[in-house]
């Protein structure tokens, strides 16, 4: 069995509620910093959803001191690049920079985050550009599917909206809303991560930077928004613009990531559809060639996780493929796992964990994620160790314990134009459309 090493990763407290993660290892002269804030888009009022995403986009458009191009050139001169991203419950900013320029890059980063110009003309341009980009994102079926998930799974709740909001809500955003929103986002408690050859060398600089940030923006006590339950029994379908291929997602609620059996649930999913040897992939791709991409994933959440199978079958075979996926799932949960197969699954899954922690930067990102979820950084090697100790009856038992395979599914599909629907009636009891519950016919 693969042993995941005890990586050179450590957690240090910072004044107040902030914390710092140090990750050491080969970094080829680059230092990577991530500042992860415990606050996301789900706390935004429905009428201005997307506000944080717009504010973060506007950071690139310049500060009071430096217009857009001067700012980007200043970072690039240091060999630095930035990335910002908003999620429903968090947001982060990433900085990678040549090690010798870290101090200058940190100064720039502070200006970038706390002194953005939020110019009204630039905002108008950002919003127009976003509308045009949103249209472009819908050119392929998977892009359409990605936008459909929120409204189907969490209809009528704060989770309904994609983190970048909707066209109508973004149009309501005014320049004067951005600075207060940014202050609110920066005021959330944060975890700062450092990945470098010797991260301890930079700990003082990063801790000092966090202290400066907190002088400008003290920690607020914003409430964490809880994710609502997933709406089951729904079907949603949309038409693609062209092509012959569909995009399909079949999903179901799964237990909380804080559940005492979470490790076993993770392995249960891995055994079903996360590698080429699994029954899902063997059946859908190996035996019948129905889809090039196929796999099952478990999206963790502390309230309620999401189990999902995604694939891209030919439009005319979408209903049949959905039926095959569900059949594979139902057969899987009815059949006890063997010890031999589980050992193989464990090895594969531990291999994926090892690969995901290959670089010093990846390890830092994961450790930050663990700390944000109030878990120790040692989860990097303790989680795999616990997985490796699970036995087949325990993992198989997850199916009956949580009713896997017996509950309602959510079907979301993007179907090509001109593809007739008789397959859906043949394998299910209705046509897929918004809000209709499909029952699979045996």
């Amino acid at each position: 069995m693969i042993q995941i090493p005890r990586f050179d990763v450590a957690l240090e407290p910072l004044p107040g509620m902030d914390r710092m993660v140090l990750s050491g290892g080969p970094s080829f002269g680059i230092v990577s910093i991530r500042i992860h804030f415990d606050h996301g888009t789900a706390s935004e009022p429905d009428e201005v959803s997307g506000l944080l995403d717009v504010a973060l986009t506007m950071l690139d458009r310049g500060t009071h001191r430096m217009p857009r191009l001067v700012l980007s050139r200043a970072f690039e001169r240091l060999g630095a690049s930035l990335g910002v991203r908003a999620f429903r419950t968090s947001w982060y900013v990433d900085l990678t920079v040549l090690e010798e320029y870290l101090d200058q890059a940190l100064d720039l980063l502070l200006e970038y985050l706390t002194d953005a110009a939020f110019d009204a003309e630039e905002l108008s341009d950002v919003l127009t550009e976003a509308e045009e980009e949103a249209e472009t994102a819908l050119e392929d079926p998977s892009g359409i599917l990605a936008r459909m998930n929120g409204p189907v799974l969490w209809s009528g709740t704060a989770w309904e909206h994609h983190p970048d909001g909707r066209v109508e809500t973004r149009r309501r955003i005014k320049a004067e809303m951005l600075a207060p929103r940014m202050l609110e986002a920066l005021g959330a408690k944060a975890v700062a991560g450092i990945a470098a050859e010797d991260p301890g060398r930079h700990a003082t600089a990063v801790a000092g930077w966090m202290a400066k940030l907190r002088t400008l923006v003290p920690v607020n006590k914003s409430e964490k928004v809880r994710r609502p339950p997933i709406r089951t029994g729904a079907v949603s379908a949309a038409r693609t613009r062209g092509g012959a291929q569909a995009a399909l997602m079949l999903s179901a609620p799964a237990p909380s990531s804080l559940d005492e059996n979470w490790d076993a649930i993770v392995l249960h999913n891995a055994a079903f559809g996360s590698g080429f040897m699994t029954p899902l992939v063997q059946r859908v791709r190996g035996k019948e060639g129905l889809s090039y991409g196929i796999g099952s994933t478990l999206v963790p959440d502390r309230e309620e996780s999401l189990f999902a199978v995604q694939c891209s079958p030919q439009g005319s075979k979408a209903a049949y493929t959905a039926s095959v996926c569900l059949d594979a799932w139902e057969r899987f949960v009815e059949t006890p796992l063997t010890d031999t197969y589980l050992e193989q699954v464990k090895s594969y899954y531990l291999g994926t964990l090892l690969m995901r922690a290959e670089t010093v930067r990846q390890r830092m990102g994961q450790a930050v994620q663990y700390v944000t979820s109030n878990r120790p950084v040692s989860e990097l090697w303790e989680h795999p160790r616990r997985l490796s100790e699970l036995d087949a009856p325990t993992v198989s038992g997850m199916a009956s314990r949580y009713g896997f395979g017996t509950g309602s599914y959510i079907v979301v599909c993007a179907l090509p134009k001109g593809i007739s629907d008789p397959g859906w009636k043949r394998h299910f009891d209705a046509l897929p459309r918004e809000g209709v519950h499909l029952r699979r016919l045996r």
Binding site: I2, P5, F7, G25, P26, S27, F28, I30, R68, L69, S72, R73, E76, R77, G79, A80, S81, T96, V97, L98, D125, T128, E129, E132, E135, T136, E139, D140, P141, G242, G243, A244, Q245, G275, F276, M277, Q282, G286, K287, E288, G289, L290, S291, Y292, G293, S312, P313, Q314, Q344, V345, S347, Y348, G351, T352, L354, M355, E358, T359, V360, R361
Partner: protein, 426 residues
């Protein structure tokens, strides 16, 4: 062979050739948590024939579907049981197979690799199922993606009937038409040890790994397999328009380059960074920020071994016509041709490249890939690492000269993509 660099970590790279003609490079680093093994085959879609396009890619899929000694499904099961993450890719000039795994599992991984390279067996049942997978892949990755449809057409227009003119995944009719025997014969012809290169990067002991290589892939029977010479016929300048279900029009401009083996390659690389290596590079600064003409603009430097391409592509903002983009791109090139990049542009571009370079070498996969790509393109695994030094040595005068050639000497290819049903289409 030694690198012309002071950095000692590159001096650890060991190169050589086994007795059966297979070449290798080992890049050990005991600090890595894993190792990546890649097997590069000097066969790509350029080695196919009209009517059998996509065969190299089809064969890549079939390599995972069993051999005379390992039944269908067993390769994946055994690899995954070792915790290995496997993948493969085919492109114009090459096919490669990659495995990232904890180093202790390398012996079994290499046994499995040697087996499929020596004893691939393609049954009719497996072939039929895998052909469906490939047909689905084509519909998903190409036919449902306007960007891919556009590039397929662009390459067809530029390279015509010659070997870069057909898509690596193959035309639909060809995928439907070839047989298991075609793939088996293609394997026998092209997968000879002399056309293989193995790169291994990560936590490995060089001496033990070399012994392992000799014991496994060293057992492949040597046989004559000479890569056929292929000519690439490039089109004269053209300007074409096509319609696709896109939301916004695209403009693609391309120029032929001499390919990776030519001395000019380093100059093209630096030009690429100067034009679109960062938000403040010349093209985004002019077209996206200052003039607000495009949603995005990018330059791409393709590294095909035969005459290659340098491409500039842009997605247009509403109300902007293709002609305006041509003018704006030409204005950037004319300025470069007249006065060259500023000293600041040069310093920033080279700094950006240095940082990107360091980031790109952080993982074992990227290091193994660097060695393999260089072997395919230059016949020398270390050429990619040397290229970095060559780029640093490029002068502003060379950039000026290249911009002048793009404007006045080289053919220019242009493909405009309009949304289906747009006024201009009518």
């Amino acid at each position: 062979m030694r690198l012309n660099r002071k950095d000692s970590k590159f001096e650890a790279i060991r190169l050589g050739q086994l007795q059966n003609g297979l070449s290798y490079a080992l890049w050990p680093d005991s600090r890595d948590a894993v190792a990546t093994l890649q097997i590069w085959v000097s066969v790509g879609s350029r080695d196919e024939a009209n009517g059998k396009t996509g065969l190299a890619h089809m064969l890549e899929h079939l390599m995972f579907r069993g051999s005379a000694t390992v039944p269908d499904g067993e390769f994946d099961r055994r690899m995954e049981s070792l915790g290995a993450q496997v993948n493969a890719a085919t492109w114009l000039d090459y096919t490669y197979y990659t495995t990232t795994v904890h180093a202790a599992a390398l012996p079994e991984v290499l046994e499995l690799e040697a087996d499929r390279f020596a004893h691939l067996l393609i049954t009719q049942e497996v072939f039929r199922a895998e052909r469906e997978v490939v047909a689905n892949e084509r519909r998903q990755v190409v036919e449902s993606d306007p960007e891919s449809m556009m590039m397929e057409r662009f390459y067809r227009e530029i390279y015509g009937e010659s070997c870069y003119g057909w898509p690596t995944i193959g035309w639909s009719d060809d995928i439907a038409g070839y047989r298991a025997e075609d793939a088996q014969a293609f394997h026998q012809e092209a997968y000879a040890p002399g056309r293989l290169f193995v790169s291994i990067a990560g936590a490995v002991d060089p001496s033990q790994t070399l012994a392992l290589l000799e014991r496994t892939l060293g057992g492949l029977t040597p046989r004559a397999s000479v890569r056929p010479q292929r000519e690439v016929a490039l089109s004269e300048s053209f300007c074409r328009t096509m319609t696709l279900p896109v939301a916004a029009p695209r403009v693609n401009l391309a120029w032929p380059t001499e390919g990776r083996r030519a001395p000019s390659f380093a100059v093209w690389c630096l030009l690429h960074d100067l034009l679109s290596g960062g938000d403040s590079a010349l093209l985004p600064a002019a077209l996206e920020v200052n003039e607000k003409l495009v949603l995005d603009v990018n330059a791409s430097q393709y590294d095909h071994a035969l005459p290659s391409l340098f491409e500039i592509s842009a997605t247009l903002r509403q109300g902007v016509g293709p002609e305006r983009i041509r003018q704006a791109v030409d204005a950037v090139l004319m300025k470069l041709a007249a006065s060259g990049p500023t000293e600041d542009d040069m310093v920033v571009a080279k700094t950006r490249l240095r940082a990107q370079d360091a980031l790109s070498l952080a993982g074992t996969y990227a290091r193994a890939e660097d060695l393999g790509e260089s072997w395919i393109a230059f016949g020398d695994p270390l050429a990619g690492l040397r290229l970095r030094d060559e780029i640093v040595a490029v002068t502003a005068a060379e950039i000026r000269g290249l911009a002048h050639r793009m404007l006045h000497e080289l053919p220019r290819y242009e493909l405009v993509v309009l949304p289906t049903g747009s006024d201009e289409e009518a």
